[in-house]
Amino acid sequence: MGDPPYPVVTKPFGRALVDLAAARDDVVCLSGDLTRQTEVDLFRDTFPERFFNVGMAEQNMVGIAGGLARDGFTVFVPTFGVFCTRRPFDQVAMAVGYPRLPVRLVGFMPGLSSPGGPSHQAVDDVALMRAVPNMTVLDVADATEIRQAVFALADLPGPAYLRLKRGEIPVIFDDDHRLLLDRAQVLREGHDLTVVTAGMMLPASLAAADVLAGRGVSTSVVHVPVVKPLDAATVLAACAHTRATVVAENHSIVGGLGSAVAEALAEAGLGRPLRRVGVRDTYAEGGSAAHLFARYGLDVSDVVARAWELLDLPGEPPRAETVREPSGNLGPV
């Protein structure tokens, strides 16, 4: 694992998908008028016969994906997270989830990483996709995981939702990192606090662990790229060895990773104080990711502050620097 500031790359998803399609002629890609933005201009230009731009018609796009998958194709459906989950939810459930077809919904610009305001900010996508039986839900953290996720999902018989950052993607993990569809990963082991996280909140969670370590708080960091099915055993084992749990996610606190972890702890009878760091059941507004993450409590300092409260530590929580990630000044589209 590297250290911040992390190097960044562009189009890791687009490149991985082209490589997968070169190896497998059953891979088909659709687009919903966001071809370059979802990096599949690379696929379109390499395999035009297997690329279909459905236009701004996500219900139809998901239905077509279901039909293609029913006849044996592995279908990737990249668009913004809101447009492949919230907008065509019934189609996802009925045309993909229920028949358990190999459709891969790929949602870019998760949570508050979109400057486009509530219409473009997927703060409920994980909750929605978790509620679909048969759906595997991934919230990956870096370019290494994105590439591995594309290949891992290629062999999954059922449907999946892959949630990933758009634009400049950090490289956090080395090439020997292995994303497994049934495993959470303990990246740091501590004995006071467990931070469970995924996706774009991984860098902030690691930074929070460093800040806390500087004040003598030993922190486990559990990275959960596969939110569903949740690797409850790994999460529970980590939480059981510490006094409190903070779950940090770039998503609503309702229905996402925080809910999944809380459910697992409660059902296992593991009583640990828990706080969810996430969007607090509200809609945000347009703005830069750095601005919105700070305003809506998704910063390193928020993870540190919740830990400080939970562990009932004296005085003010230590100061924590924001993790600066290149945003590439993305527009809403």
């Binding site: 236009g55 219900q59 239905g63 039909g67 293609l68 029913r70 019934d90 045309a95």
Partner: protein, 277 residues
């Protein structure tokens, strides 16, 4: 050229007699299936009997073509039609409406006979497009028949799909549209204006022609032309959701017909006569 003209006009040929009798058998079986509980989706079988009969007996190539039933509550008609093809038995039909029956009233993923069906309306054409694209990608000679109902035209997704199919010139896609002017809240024309139906599909770039959906010869001829059209094609079938049985009261709720035992008896007698005749 006489044959071609006859086909165009929908002149009844001996093979159509097979379809006509098959339609009567679909109605008879549907009456029995619905009659057991005294209510159900009989109107859907009555409006679509000739469409299903013609499609199954004269056009659909078993094991090659695909059959998408967009409105899954029409599946009663497909069950009834499947008996003639040896895909289901009369004994299986008799379980319709029972708990744990394989023949659910609204079709699901475990439904036999159909390749794809959608209880949530307006979605079938998109799935059919997926199947048509799959056939095109593999260069397979296969026609995807999508049965769609007129009420489904109120769902926006249907028009998203219609635009896509025309843009991509999906000549292996044929829609059989049952315009029975019936939906849950009453006549479609009372709920919203979907007319002019044929002109709408034409405006969306489809080969579209309108037929009397109870005239087996016209339906068959139109389906033949639809299959050979250069792009996606729709047969707009004007039907009656209480059609083919004279004993049903005129004002009945066609979407979900209620049948007394006396009505079942009368309808069965009438349909058995039609099958003999």
């Amino acid at each position: 050229m006489q044959g071609t003209d006859d086909q165009a006009r929908g002149v009844l040929r001996p093979e159509h007699e097979t379809a006509r009798r098959a339609a009567a058998r679909i109605r008879l079986r549907a009456v029995r299936m619905v009659g057991k509980q005294g209510f159900g989706y009989l109107g859907q079988a009555l409006s679509s009997a000739e469409l299903m009969a013609v499609l199954f007996t004269e056009h659909l190539r078993s094991g090659i073509d695909r059959f998408v039933l967009s409105p899954a509550h029409y599946v009663i008609a497909a069950y009834a039609a499947a008996v003639d093809l040896g895909m289901l038995t009369e004994e299986q039909l008799a379980t319709y409406g029972d708990d744990d029956s394989a023949l659910e009233a609204i079709g699901t993923e475990r439904t036999p006979v159909v390749d794809l069906t959608c209880g949530s309306l307006g979605q079938g054409l998109s799935g059919a497009i997926g199947l048509a694209l799959a056939a095109r990608l593999r260069a397979e000679d296969r026609t995807v028949y999508a049965f769609v109902s007129d009420g489904e035209m109120e769902e926006g997704q249907l028009w998203e799909a219609a635009m896509f199919a025309a843009h991509h010139g999906l000549a292996n896609l044929v829609v059989l549209l049952d315009c029975n002017n019936s939906q849950v809240d009453g006549p479609v024309s009372d709920v919203t204006t979907v007319e002019p139906v044929t002109a709408k599909w034409q405006a969306f770039g489809w080969h579209a022609e309108e037929v009397d959906g109870h005239d087996v010869a016209m339906v068959s001829a139109a389906l033949g032309r639809a299959r050979s059209a250069a792009g996606p094609a729709v047969v707009v079938a004007r039907t009656n959701a209480l059609g083919g049985i004279t004993c049903l009261p005129g004002g009945a709720d066609a979407h979900f017909v209620k049948l007394t035992p006396e009505l079942v008896e009368q309808a069965v007698a009438e349909l058995e006569e039609a099958i003999r005749g």
